[in-house]
Homo-oligomer: 154 residues x 2
């Protein structure tokens, strides 16, 4: 028993709580293939998860919530992420040539950049909404100051 993270010690309710969602959502994502079905599970027995599953779920939920992606669009991102994981394995096992390593790293980089582009677009929209609202805010504050002024001088 080394100090690695607890392997497969979490039940569905605890995973849901940590990731900020519900058991139903986890089962639904498993059904869609967004989350891996915990392998060799007798029908009716409990699902068991590890810390990495919590991370993955939390990341899915963040991308969905913040970027407004549908589960179908998320599937693409997830698949790319999984492919990246497989490549990382190949890298880690040390059986990749320098050229192969460069391919793997570039592909991972492109994947990250696509997500960053989505984030940038969102931020622009959010900034514009904020600018409009702060504009109104300043206007109203000015009016209030004016009113206070008048009450003083009269």
């Amino acid at each position: 028993m080394s100090a690695t993270q607890a392997q497969a010690g979490l039940r569905i309710g605890e995973v849901a709580r940590r990731a900020g969602t519900t058991p139903r959502t986890i089962r639904y994502y498993e059904e869609l293939g967004l989350l891996p079905a915990t392998p060799e599970r007798d029908a009716g027995s409990h699902r068991l998860y590890g810390e990495s599953d919590v991370e993955r779920l939390a990341q899915i939920l963040r991308l969905k919530d913040l970027l407004g992606l549908s589960l179908d669009e998320l599937r693409d991102v997830i698949e790319a992420e999984d492919a990246r994981g497989a490549l990382r394995e190949e890298w880690r096992r040390g059986e990749a040539s320098p050229q192969r390593r460069e391919e793997i790293a570039s592909e991972a980089l492109r994947h990250i950049e696509r997500q960053l582009a989505l984030i940038a677009r969102r931020r622009e929209k959010l900034d514009e909404l904020e600018r409009e609202l702060t504009g109104k805010q300043v206007l109203l504050q000015g009016r209030l100051a004016e009113l206070a002024e008048n009450l003083h001088t009269t």
Copy 2:
């Protein structure tokens, strides 16, 4: 005919196109009371809208999309916005005392501030996601640079 904005000249398809949605969504929002039912319309006759309806719809869609609000939560925002509109009318007609004017402006200000708070929360989450991704990005770029270096010196 003065140079005011065209009154009630737009049909549902054009409104949808300008606001970036579909006729079905407009009818659904009308059904829920988020958009006003165009008044005195014979059953089966066309709905007609003005520019202000386009603005209102676009704003609803932005709040829903960017802040992730449900239509039920949006209803609250919309109602507050409508109340603000009524108050502004009272203001405009000039029949508000200075004290009353201050009340109206403060209420409007609080309403804006609530929305700005929601935006700030969203931005924080978005920033955190971006930081994590740029962290990975920098790491990968470093690895790529290292690989290029090795290919050179060997």
